[in-house]
């Protein structure tokens, strides 16, 4: 056994474990030779900017994109009607048993359901032109009732976000077996706790990005 342990120790010494090593990529990076997606500028690359809804929930009354389309350097403006005509809805959630599918569109069908939701898309020769054009798009909104609290959203009189569902409760998940009430009654003491579990979602603070061209590298 001692021999085996000694051999393992020898093996560990030979490996990287516990060793302090410098990185091979550092020399390139400290010389300013790092390359990131924004450094890649293939020929005829075009840029997109989005118009986003400033309200938690709003009906889109009208969109006037004429000034944006007239701006030099603008290649295309996509409004909801264009996207709705050319694309199909998709599901973004994994199927939850008994939950109806929510089928969002890339641009909203008449109603924006959250602040920051994309309303229109501009494609232009540079990001600067695209952003300028996006600001020229005039959207008339009719703000609608909203809730920002999960428990309030579950109440009966809460404004319903997806009318086809008729409720804001996507799914309930009760689990149990046997005589609950009897088991609780038989207990010497009982305690009740309300547990709030925060929503976990991805953050774009340090985004991973990719740029793909049609050519082999």
């Amino acid at each position: 056994v001692t021999e085996i342990l000694e051999r393992q120790e020898e093996q560990t010494r030979k490996s990287f474990i516990g060793e302090r090593r410098t990185r091979v990529e550092d020399e390139r990076l400290v010389r300013g030779l790092g390359k990131y997606v924004d450094d890649v500028d293939p020929p005829r690359l075009v840029h997109m900017a989005l118009v986003r809804c400033p309200y938690p929930r709003a009906r889109i009354v009208s969109i006037d994109a004429s000034a944006a389309r007239a701006l030099p350097g603008v290649l295309e403006v996509l409004l909801p009607e264009d996207v709705l005509a050319r694309t199909d809805p998709i599901t973004i959630l994994r199927p939850i048993p008994d939950a109806p599918a929510i089928m969002p569109r890339a641009l909203p069908d008449g109603e924006a359901l959250y602040e920051g939701q994309p309303i229109a898309s501009v494609c232009a020769v540079s990001r600067y032109v695209a952003e300028d054009a996006a600001q020229l798009i005039d959207v008339e909104y009719e703000p609608l009732p909203f809730v920002v609290d999960v428990l309030q959203a579950a109440e009966d009189d809460a404004p319903v976000l997806h009318e086809s569902m008729g409720t804001n409760v996507l799914v309930t998940n009760p689990r149990g077996d046997g005589d609950w009430d009897g088991a609780f009654e038989a207990c010497d003491s009982r305690c009740r706790r309300h547990l709030s579990i925060n929503r976990v979602s991805g953050s774009r603070w340090r985004p991973a990005r990719s740029l793909r061209t049609g050519h082999r590298a």
Binding site: T22, E25, D26, L29, V30, G34, W205
Partner: protein, 74 residues
């Protein structure tokens, strides 16, 4: 300063590194001694999301120490 960052693992993805290096260089040229709290203030203008900063502070302190000791070229 490049060597100090490499040896002290003062970078991971490298995105903020050029700004960190140039700030360090300026601090070296200014030549005013800094304790760690002051160094944090001086580097507050550059955001790093990889390292948690400790390794960066180690690297800059090492570099500034060399400069102060006459070993640097700043």
């Amino acid at each position: 300063v490049q060597q100090a960052f490499k040896e002290h693992h003062g970078l991971q993805c490298g995105y903020c590194t050029p700004a960190m290096l140039m700030t360090s260089l300026a601090l070296g040229r200014r030549g005013i001694p800094l304790d760690r709290e002051q160094l944090k203030e001086e580097l507050a203008g550059v955001l790093c999301r990889c390292t948690g900063y400790q390794k960066i502070y180690d690297a800059v302190e090492s570099y500034l120490g060399e400069v102060a000791g006459g070993g640097g070229t700043a």
